[in-house]
Amino acid sequence: MKIHYGTALAAVALVAVHILMRLTQGFAESLEYENVLANYKFIPYAAMLELILILLSVHGFNGLRVILLELKQGRIYEKAVSYGCLAAMIGLIAYGSRTIIMTNMGMV
């Protein structure tokens, strides 16, 4: 639970910053290609996005694991759920990191 609560509290603070960034300009304007690209190229912001990605992936897939373990129990089932959620979490972090790193390095 410590991981779940820790990632939740950290994510709340960082996601608030992420959402407020959308409100510094008009909502539609903030989603324009140049603006989004500039966001990714600004290293502190890109680092924050990476941190949000990791925190929410850990929190989300751990939450999913808890829900699935609550529904059914069993040695093989529990292992499958835990490893499945871990694999999905790593996959999502890798995919999201690819976007952040490639955009930040100008590989678009």
């Binding site: 290609y33 690209l37 995919y95 690819r98």
Partner: protein
Amino acid sequence: MSKDEHREGIKGMANPTRYGIERVAYWLMRLSGLGLLAYFVGHIYETSNILRGQVGWNEFLELTQTTEGHLVLAIVIAMCVFHTVNGIRVMLGHGGIGVGKPARPDYPYEPASQNYRHKIGIYSAILLAAIAMMYGLAVMFGE
């Protein structure tokens, strides 16, 4: 009659009318969590479209920046706010805050932890989620 036939299973557990607002909060917490995880995965895919360049990004924005897209986003805002506020309530309860003092269980055996403080917390979470959703709709449709 076997033991299994007496069990209501998930349907019995899910029944919100039997166990009060705490059970409603339990289900809303799980449903909003699953919804937010689905949105998060979709959002990661959505933002990866920036690697397709300006044309690819604009093409994807045309799909998401629609009335339906905005309504989905408004629901996501509501889920996010509820999940956050109720999550803080659960964390405080887990830490022993607002659950009352331990006492001898007397009839009618009302759990001390299911008190007005936590009920107010649940209703506040629902109210704040509704307000945030309205604000989100005003921002998205106000342009």
